[in-house]
Symmetry: C2
Subunit: 313 residues, 2 copies
């Protein structure tokens, strides 16, 4: 068996790991229920165990390293989680070094949305471009920026905080202290919140409930997605004006509602970005779904090797 | 004399050229009134003449190349101006190759705002960072993005179109077709326009007229800069959330009014970007003034040589 790497995704409900070869083929995968409340030491044991399980199922081969996608802010150089609401007790705990101690191979930590953007670049919707932006629509809105094939980290790895771009200066208040953050107007949570204000005559728990009503032809459910699309379009237009990248990808739970929100989204972008109107800028669905972060994480240890080979070729 | 390069700036009123050595010292400069209406062939002759004048005044030395900052969209690889309202008749004319034919040395075309950002990175306010964003406040608002020490071009060299970021979705209409573009709320033109609505009891022609009133203690003149600062702050917060760069620079005519617009600008940024609030992100005045583009253009032919030397060292 040729060289491979392992990606790990610390998702909200599951801790997942996958072995991937250099062409992006998944060789093996393992998923266990996540229990991050157990504290960092136990979680590290769990991660090491999951990686071991994946290795055990594979024939001998060169494991290039392990990439781990973490929901939170990462100090990449130090290999520590600087802030994560999903991983209590992890702040300033030396996750990377602890795992490395057990495994003796290179470990790379990365923010999960950045890893997802890299995954889409590697073997997803962004294979044919060097620069792309991914927006992940979920409880909040996150994302990642890929430029020249690599993750743009910014100073503290906090680049890609698209959810807190202001789209309506006097819009809905956000937990961050701002008003009118994109994620208060266009996340899955925002869709459900708008839905609950529409007097549908039924309980609305999730964005999917609104989606189902829209599919059944409910006009007010369509208004919700129209409004959500407008907010997305305002933010996307500003991103296009600032970055002039060829490709902007959307992923996450609301993606199946594309036909409901895309028309107003694209109308706003056309109006608010002449770069979009005059160039072949594409706004598209991401392709890898929930696997994007896992695969992007697996790509991290391979990236340098593959880049070197590309130069040598 | 050691190696040097020449920067050229096709400014609105003057065509300027400067010889600069590898440490950023200006060795010689020439400025002639601009006459871009004469058509591309005559302008090329003028540019070649100005470059010749600079060379004639210098002792023999190695001229590494010429960088030219152009107000408009550039196809960098082709060396042509794709669109410029200041350079009629230049579209698709092979400017770079025409100049190169006369001089026989490497010529690099670049958007002038991108060149200004690079100049600030090289020997201005951004010397100590690798990533920065420059916003140039003038008739409109332009700018440039420097990442890892180099200009971020995006797909068509249109990155950095910050003037058309939407800050107020239902704000003032812009010539681009949008409403609420940053430059309709925060450019020098916008300051003058707001000033004309304030019934100052005197004619307002420029942003400077409003600045003078503010300096004299006129309360409504202060309102103008307060509003302008708020618009700037909204855009800057979104940029900080998207890029997480350490440094954002402002340049242009309204800069002397910093003390009038900065308080509201910074209040908005603090409110709208937790990245700003939690990190050492700086928003500062650019240092090179009208020379930024000229010096950045001169740096273009030097950049690769200097980067190579840095690696070797």
């Amino acid at each position: 068996m040729g060289p491979y790497s392992i990606g790990v995704d610390l998702g909200g409900t599951n801790l997942r790991a996958a072995a991937v070869n250099e062409t992006g083929k998944v060789l093996e995968r393992v998923s266990v229920p996540a229990n991050y409340d157990a504290g960092p030491l136990d979680v590290v044991t769990e991660i090491v165990g999951v990686i071991g399980k994946v290795r055990d199922r594979l024939p001998q081969g060169t494991l290039r390293g392990v990439g781990i996608g973490v929901p939170g802010f990462i100090d990449i150089d130090a290999g520590v989680v600087v802030g994560s609401s999903n991983l209590p007790g992890f702040n300033d705990f030396p996750v990377r070094d602890e795992i490395q101690k057990h495994l003796g191979i290179p470990i790379i930590l990365e923010n999960d949305a950045n890893a997802a953007a890299l995954g889409e670049k590697w073997i997803g919707a962004g294979q044919n471009v060097k620069d792309l932006i991914l927006l992940t629509l979920g409880t909040g809105i996150g994302g990642g920026v890929i430029t020249d094939g690599k993750i743009l980290h910014g100073s503290q790895g906090m680049a890609g905080e698209f959810g807190h771009m202001t789209v309506f200066p006097d819009g809905n208040p956000c937990g961050c202290g701002n008003t009118g953050c994109l994620e208060k107007h266009a996340s899955a949570t925002a869709i459900a919140a708008m839905g609950r204000m529409m007097h549908f005559g039924q309980e609305i728990n999730t964005a999917e409930d609104v989606f189902n009503l829209a599919q059944a032809g409910n006009e007010r459910a369509h208004w919700v997605f129209d409004a959500m699309g407008r907010a997305l379009g305002i933010a996307l237009a500003s991103l296009i004006n600032a970055f002039n990248f060829p490709l902007y990808l959307l992923s996450g739970g609301p993606l199946p509602a594309w036909d409901f929100f895309a028309p107003s989204m694209l109308a706003e972008v056309r109006k608010r970005s002449f770069t979009f109107a005059r160039t072949g800028t594409r706004i598209e669905k991401a392709l890898l779904g929930a696997d994007a972060g896992l695969l992007g994480a697996a790509y991290l240890p391979l990236q340098e090797t593959l880049a070197r080979e590309e130069v040598t070729r």
